[in-house]
Symmetry: C2
Subunit: 320 residues, 2 copies
Amino acid sequence: MKVKWKYSYLKKDINEIESTLHKVVNSSQPILKNASVQLLESGGKRIRPVFVLLSAKFGQYNLQSIKNVAATLEIIHMASLVHDDVIDEASLRRGKPTINSTYNDRVAMYAGDFLFAKALECMSEIEIPLAHQKLSETILEICLGEIEQIKDKYNFDQNLKCYLRRIKRKTALLISASCEIGAIASGASPAFQKCLKDYGYYLGMSFQIMDDILDFTASEKELGKPSGSDLIQGNITLPVLFAMNDLAFKEKIESVYEGIDPETVKPLINQIRKSTYIKAARKVSEAYLQKSLNSINSLPNSEAKEMLILIAKNIGNRKN
Amino acid sequence: MKVKWKYSYLKKDINEIESTLHKVVNSSQPILKNASVQLLESGGKRIRPVFVLLSAKFGQYNLQSIKNVAATLEIIHMASLVHDDVIDEASLRRGKPTINSTYNDRVAMYAGDFLFAKALECMSEIEIPLAHQKLSETILEICLGEIEQIKDKYNFDQNLKCYLRRIKRKTALLISASCEIGAIASGASPAFQKCLKDYGYYLGMSFQIMDDILDFTASEKELGKPSGSDLIQGNITLPVLFAMNDLAFKEKIESVYEGIDPETVKPLINQIRKSTYIKAARKVSEAYLQKSLNSINSLPNSEAKEMLILIAKNIGNRKN
């Protein structure tokens, strides 16, 4: 989700978030320090902090207070990535070695816990109970999603509802929470909070569906990993769900199971890539995108609103 | 840390905490539900909730509000046990199968995350910023301790300071936080908060040292695991630290390394059990206990204070 910083809007503030992030994850414990800095410097688009800041613009914007919320949301995202990499046995993340591969699963588990705790410490600066309640609700739902995701792997009988609930918990909830908590923490009106929460939710759904499409259609170079990795790892995404309406295809795909040679899956990946199912999935992503834009229709015109629209449109056109 | 409920004091309130715990960890997700209930029903002495309640007695005691704090502290303790069992590859906890052994490490990792998130959700009912700050500071220190503990295993060159810092993070901090946050949440005076915090800290230190002694001196039946398990797993505790002042013994003990046949360690365990080092360690535990009692000297006389004293004295005499 790359964003062109039109008019360099917010650029200074984003730089401040970056240095806050470095300060927050710092530790006198050398393993944790190295692991966290490695994770921070491997990039990431800091899209959650951006949403926190933009949403805060609809209340009393105060960078010194809102930057803690922005850092919290990004660090929670980082913590969940660290634990997910253990589960997925991933050796690379954004082209850099993961913590589980550099050290081991145990260090990665505790490093994730550490980041999580750092996020809470950072958030404890904010003295608005509603913000804390929304954050803990969100984290809880994400945890539930993580367990469900283990269960859903290689389950070829799941339906659309199951997929949508999974991507909601995997992606949409934290983006939605970034927008909503940004609005709450800056004292934006409840009506604005609701608009921004919905915007984030629909945008997150659109974004993840597009991500799942690109996993088939983008090149290995664009993805930084082999095309069709999701299917190879047993993750049933929207294009696959659509493709399985063709029962002959479903039969073929059911032979894909954990531990199978990825080469065997390649013809199936190619078949999906060229299919109309990609187009159908794209339509779903676009529908969510439109809902996202509609959600903020009633917000007052401002640079922040313009940026939110720009980011949403960017997602529709992205290539990786 | 079994406590005789003199005059059945607090018994009704503790029952209420028990049902709160069951309500809080409940989940519609079957794996998480089973895992959490299994953990709850495997017992545990609920000593952290007891400290929360007793400390709250020094402010405006309100069970309906304080029960959330009590449940939070116990669930954080449970979450850390689940992750520790993954690290230690433990198959039994309080005589019941651990989550990692019933399911696998992945489920246990996310189950720990889930419990942690549940604890936060429970705590978000409390609208006192200071309570949240103390809690997040505590969790952070505990996480740091967990990483250090991995590093310290089989490190025979560690000193007393290193050991004390480790047991502080492993045990004393969460007990201290239970007392302090119980006092904060009930609006007890800052002076009372400090007394109770210190009491919990010193008591936790004394308790853990006694635990480390009993690991050598108690029978397999009393412990529910082989005597000397700590040393077999490479955990250097106070009796071992003292024993290593004898350089001949140190040399022998350094041959104990990961993966060694536990039978080889048995003579060393027997040697420590019968040594004066046990007595020396017991003296340290007693000194902490005395400090713990001194900390609450200035608290007003009350049933709660009596219970705190009773619990402390109980620790000095416990057999398992």
